[in-house]
Symmetry: C2
Subunit: 351 residues, 2 copies
């Protein structure tokens, strides 16, 4: 979280300017909050270049609820099948929820190589009449990130879980039918999920699905069909403004993220095999740098010594092992540099 | 929101004690957040006297998501019917979602008298094999509040939407199969819903319902099946501690709420018919005081003059008209006294 955003939130905690009360106290129908919500939406729209053909919603329930909502709105009752590219842990969770709503098939699965790669256009075929093509743009556990949108017929809506790389770089929204991101990586605090979707796409959904999952309820009521997560939206709006006004937009953010991640990948590549990246080079993530060390003992030593240097939360997920350095937008260059310096030192002492 | 809670949140915004980072930055798996979550749960358990037979969950999606979740877990696939007492606007919304999941029937509906009353035991009959009996303990728009739990056979789980009077008074949890409350009235900020339910009851639910709606996922993972709304839970924990340690518990809170609401009802009753309470006397709410004035002109004048006296948000819902004064736990006696004084003055000038 950018420090300037935290300071603003702190300053306004007891009294939101103009409200005479805390943001935590005013109603979601209060004119001031409605302005905050619209401002957050409009800042996202300007950052991403979202056209009026698309709705921008703020929902609760995280990616997990979206796994169900997407299939309930776009698959249930269509007689079609949904097609999934499985490139890591989050895609697998998504398809298991979709199977409850209809036919959902993995047309690509990188399981055999423990999700270290992404498909090329020749590695899968999307049916022309698929309900949608689903993928996860960045898999946090494996550290693989699509560099571009996967190939998808124009007749098939492309759906993306962008939770962990949303706002890390420009995003061609008009290539998507629907994309969503829970906020807690790059966009704000836990408790709000941004959903961007083509308005015409969700008009056909079956209104008999659970009301909270039915996108049209949220779209028709500007995310105020029921009480939205007011505080999370308020902070998200401030983060979006920081990205636009302080950073200078998403192209600038991408430049910074490339510099940060490159500096770590360079150390991995020049370590003579001491550090071994998990993800194949061409699909390395800007957000999650995953690598292994020569032994479990060295991995444990790395984590322990890093912790003593105030470099925390580096342990990789058990399915991949090793180290995972998550370097989301708000991680300053100094933090990445400190980790890089530690990696170089650790190599010189143990390599 | 109690001012002491807001000040604590403000003080800790940049650095949560022990974390070296903001609560908005740490992972929901961080030991410090897990402690905060468990502490919030345990404070609620001690305030309400919740036994180990019950789970206490923190979920997202508000009451609206619970409308669906309750019916999906307790009605879908059972072949039974769910029975509803409709005493106001929120109950009506709940039954419409339940009907998507199975047979849901209103066995009492106060529509004819515009929801100004609650049923006595002779006004409805619950089937011995109903999936559950559902009611809303306090209807915010109408200002009617059950003084005790409705009569319900021991074979039928009692389910309550306690969103708007949760923590306003002691609650005999062991009479319930399930009760829930979105936090934003008495318990914390918008964005988290507390669900208290008998563990054995939800074991029988159909796992093919959308995963986020399946209570067992949340119960088996201590509300960390997916990322919970961390900030809202953190604030809720502080509000619960304020109730326990500063107020002295729920019996004490009820005493304060009775004094606050009685002072307004007294002015209504002694106004010679100038102020006319919407709810029948025996089911008046401690939280929402609803009344009408002799004419629309006087109502408009009342709201306008009150606003000039910094008494805001008094306009009643269009279905009831008139005035609604919401005096939740955190509304200080001084605020209620100021409203009472204004009501007396307004009467003397216009009565």
């Amino acid at each position: 979280m950018p420090e300037s955003v935290l300071r603003e939130v702190q300053d306004e905690m007891l009294c939101l300017p103009g409200a005479g009360a805390s943001l935590l106290e005013i109603s979601h129908r209060d004119k001031l909050f409605v302005e905050i919500l619209h401002d957050a939406e409009n800042t996202l729209r300007s950052l991403l270049g979202v056209s009026d053909d698309y709705g921008v919603l703020f929902m609760q329930g995280g990616a997990t609820l979206q796994f169900s909502a997407i299939a309930a709105n776009l698959l249930r009752g269509t007689g079609k099948r949904a097609e999934y590219l499985l490139t890591g842990s989050w895609g697998k969770k998504a398809i298991s929820e979709a199977k409850k709503e209809g036919e959902a098939v993995a047309i690509y699965d990188a399981k055999e190589t423990n999700y270290d790669r992404l498909p090329g256009a020749s590695d899968y075929t999307v049916s022309d009449d698929a309900a949608y093509l689903y993928y996860c743009s960045n898999e946090t556990i494996q550290g693989v990130q699509f560099q571009n949108e996967p190939e998808c017929p124009a007749s098939v809506p492309l759906v993306s879980d962008a939770s962990s790389d949303f706002l890390c770089r420009p995003l061609p929204v008009d290539k998507y039918g629907l994309l969503y991101a829970c906020a807690q990586k790059n966009a704000g605090p836990a408790g709000v999920t941004v959903v961007v979707m083509r308005k015409d796409l969700i008009e056909k959904a079956d209104p008999s699905i659970p009301g909270y999952l039915y996108y049209k309820n949220h779209l028709d009521n500007d995310s105020e069909w029921n009480t939205p997560p007011t505080f999370a939206i308020y902070v998200l709006g401030k983060v979006a403004r920081w990205l636009r006004d302080d950073i200078g937009g998403l192209a600038e953010m991408e430049k910074i993220n490339r510099e940060k991640s490159s500096s770590l990948y360079k150390i991995i590549d020049e370590s003579g095999g001491f550090y071994r990246g998990h993800a194949n080079v061409e699909c390395r993530s800007l957000m999650n740098v995953t690598f292994n060390l020569p032994s479990d003992e060295l991995t444990a030593k790395f984590i322990s010594e890093a912790g003593a240097n105030r470099l925390a939360a580096l342990k990789g997920h058990r399915s991949v092992g090793g180290i995972r350095a998550s370097i989301y937008n708000a991680m300053p260059r100094e933090g990445v540099d400190a980790l890089g310096q530690f990696m170089a030192d650790f190599l010189s002492r143990n390599g």
